[in-house]
Amino acid sequence: MKALVAVKRVVDYNVKVRVKADGSDVDIGNVKMSMNPFDEIAVEEAVRLKEAGKVSEIVVVSLGVKQCEETLRTAMAMGADRGILVETEAPLQPLAVAKLLKAVVDKEQPQLVILGKQAIDDDANQTGQMLAALLGWPQGTFASKVVVADSKVDVTREIDGGLETVALKLPAIVTTDLRLNEPRYVKLPNIMAAKKKPLDKTTPADLGVDPAPRLTVLKVAEPAKRSAGVKVASVQELVAKLKNEAKVL
């Protein structure tokens, strides 16, 4: 069966982003960009399923600016077979991404779509669920284990307080959590081979989707700096502050 994986190009997780002086947005010009770490896990899972003979072809999709091609090449170096770039300069919010992915899924007809549970830039944690809703498919979010059998997939999910396992009829959506797997290091020959794998391009207009954002960012700011520490006089005061001021108990 065919698997489709969505990958997002985001600010590298090592970069500490800065807010623009006018507070209009974060400044991501010229910072290092990488594949969203949860999406790397998604690609890795698809490649493992292919290696296990459960998946026959992996199509990887990215949406955004031209440079997303690099992200697709990385996914192909990891083992995806071909790439699709939905190219647009427009900022994309999760609902628009889900609609665009639905259009791609309608064309490609995969049985399994794997996405990262969230992107580390907007931290929205929505796209997989939205795509599942638009397709009317079942979903296994925050997956820490994925077992594919004939016409179903069992997904173990990381939930607050433990794990939950659900059985989903295929076709289905899976979103990945950190413990699902550890993405491989890419092999040098595969980097070169990835340059020769097919990469198709399309646009939101081609797919008939209006990607206009629904949310307007009014301003961004850095959270208040750590206030200088205080000495407390008693255990009672300490516990009270931890409960009421710091709210960590």
Binding site: E70, R73, Y185, V186, L188, I191, M192, K195
Partner: protein, 597 residues
């Protein structure tokens, strides 16, 4: 302490200074392009940061142990090597016909910088394998090549270089190990003797190890012209390629060293039971000349090591200086203590480190690009010019990068203050690890003699003068570039001082070789600083242009200009002082009686 591959600066140097696109355009490099190189760098960076850097300290703390000839590597090294091997990094520059990727030296060098910075001890294993691979590829019979090269290039069988013996260090004419025709008459030889300082000579990371060993045949002439090169595998290889009997070669002990503890430095004994089987590489008695063909790559590789370990030390020092709060900032109204990065002398030390590293990276990669042109340029004259440039620059890159690595990593310790002297901090490891780089593959003294003799005097200063002319051209551009003129002035003064030392050395080398030799290391440093300053001047010109065009990362380009200005103010003036030493310092070094030393 984590390591972040300096991919931005590497990319800038590759594309803007070293001419990556020209290298990619050379015949045989058609499959390489700057976008592919970018992708390779990103993945290599992930591997260096994620796999190699985290075990660097393990190597230092645990080192290697030997028990009855069996060497156990530090925790994590074996797994890391297997990942490294499986990812195909060992064969990056290896010949395509034997399974390598045939990547240009320039690109391989950029990746090697990351391995060396992340984990110098580890990096030596694949680096030596590469050297051994090249020796076999250039000189061995097709039969030997087909047996050994595919396995070495895949990383399954790492290689070693066995040159040194207790009495034969820098002077390999003293090699005494013996090779006699195998009485079985199968064309092989029996090797006997002891080799020392054999890096990664024995370990637990691979099924087999391929030793390249220098030894003398029974009828060999004395001296350098009587040394032959042999392949001696740890396990003999059967006709079907499977591993056969254990060969009569063993590690008898490991050296206790100042640094690079993660790399096993072995004393290797051949033929204790009279049965160490070896195979002659190429022709008899040509071994040393075969080794010398590898020397350029190996020396350049050590130059990369010096620059890389300096970068690692710098990163650690910057991180500490941002974090460590101590004393109020000079001239500040704020009475509270400030991060030490605000203190002027700490900034001076950090910039001393940073500016030299960037100068070295540029000069080193320029040499890498010349190596590719010397190997593959279609035009014979260009090819020859590139080879002359390689020959001239290699002792400078090797000697200057590694001498400065000692100073730069020392500054790395200094910035940490007392904490730097404490091993747990980790700054001291880089200082100790760096120390070997100005010693092995030819000490700085050896490099400097090579520079003034074979590279300068023997060609009457041709290449030196070509370079000085190119420096002058950059001086003119800088002097016409507004606020960069100050860099141009400093570079011009250094260039003029160097012209005088070149003339002096050319005049003195034959008439008073001992006087010239006293000035050889100062000359090597002088050339390093001058040419490094030249590259930073070029970088500043490009950065200024990019800023004017509003192209790319403005903060990065502004920092390139600051770095060039700092180097011009703090490093380039040393050239004139070194010129004085070279021209007027010989007599005082030689006049004092030996017994008074």
């Amino acid at each position: 302490m984590s390591y972040r591959a300096p991919v931005n600066d590497i990319r800038f140097v590759l594309n803007e200074l070293a001419g990556l696109s020209e290298v990619c355009a050379l015949p045989g490099n058609e499959d390489t392009n700057p976008e592919l190189v970018d992708a390779i760098l990103e993945e290599a960076a992930k591997f260096a940061e994620g796999v190699l850097a985290p075990i660097n300290r393990n190597g230092d703390l645990h080192g290697n142990t030997v028990d009855n000839g069996v060497v156990t590597t530090a925790p994590g090294f074996r797994d890391a090597y297997h990942q490294f091997r499986d990812a195909g990094w060992v064969g990056m520059r290896g010949p395509v016909e034997y399974g390598g990727q045939g990547m240009p030296a320039l690109v391989t060098m950029a990746v090697e910088e990351l391995w060396c910075a992340a984990n110098l001890s580890f990096s030596l294993c694949p680096l030596l394998t590469l050297g051994a691979t090249e020796a076999l590829h250039h000189h061995a019979s097709d039969e030997l090549k087909s047996i050994y090269l595919p396995k070495m290039i895949s990383g399954e069988w790492p290689g070693t270089m066995n040159l040194t013996e207790p009495q034969a260090g820098s002077d390999l004419a003293q090699v005494r190990s013996k090779a006699v025709p195998n009485p079985t008459g199968d064309g092989s030889y029996l090797i006997s003797g002891q080799k020392i300082f054999i890096t990664w000579g024995e370990h637990d990371m691979a099924d087999n190890i391929v030793h390249l060993v220098l030894a003398r045949l029974p009828d060999a002439p004395a001296g350098v012209k009587g040394i032959s090169l042999f392949v001696v595998p740890k396990f003999l290889v059967n006709a079907d390629g499977s591993l056969g009997a254990r060969n009569d070669v063993r590690c008898v002990s490991l050296e206790h060293k100042l640094g690079i503890h993660g790399s096993p430095t072995c004393v290797m004994s051949y033929g204790d039971n009279g049965n160490a089987v070896g195979y002659l590489v190429g022709e008899a008695n040509r071994g040393l000349s075969y080794m010398f063909t590898m020397m350029n790559h190996a020396r350049l590789g050590v130059g990369v090591e010096g620059m890389a370990i300096s970068e690692r030390s710098y990163q650690q020092a910057v991180a500490y200086a941002r974090d460590r709060v101590q004393s109020r900032a000079l001239g500040s109204d704020d009475a509270s203590s400030a991060a030490i990065i605000k203190h002027p002398d700490v900034r001076r030390m950090l910039m001393t480190m940073r500016s030299q590293i960037e100068a070295q990276r540029a000069l080193t990669y320029l040499t890498g690009a010349a190596l590719d042109k010397a190997a593959r340029h279609p035009d014979a004259a260009e090819k020859q010019k590139a080879q002359a440039l390689v020959n001239f620059l290699i002792p400078i890159v090797k000697g200057w990068n590694t001498e400065q690595a000692n100073e730069i990593t020392s500054l790395g310790v200094q910035i940490h203050g007392g904490m730097g002297f404490i091993e747990e901090t980790g700054a001291a490891q880089h200082y100790r690890d760096a120390r070997i780089t100005s010693i092995y593959e030819g000490t700085t003294g050896i490099q400097a003699l090579d520079l003034i003799g074979r590279k300068l005097a023997s060609e009457k200063g041709t290449t030196a003068k070509v370079l000085l002319t190119e420096v002058a051209a950059t001086v003119n551009k800088l002097k016409a570039a507004g606020d960069l003129a100050v860099i141009g002035d400093a570079l011009e003064a250094a260039q003029e001082a160097t012209i005088k030392t070149v003339d002096y050395l050319l005049a003195t080398f034959d008439s008073n070789p001992r006087a010239a030799a006293v000035g050889s290391v100062p000359f090597l440093k002088q050339m390093g600083i001058l040419l490094g300053g030249w590259q930073l001047g070029r970088a500043a010109l490009i950065a200024r242009q990019k800023l004017a065009d509003g192209e790319g990362d403005a903060a990065f380009f502004e920092s390139k200009i600051s770095v060039a200005r700092f180097f011009a103010a703090h490093q380039l003036p040393q050239v004139a002082a070194l010129a004085q030493t070279i021209r007027f310092g010989a007599e005082s070094a030689l006049e004092i009686g030996e017994e008074l030393l």
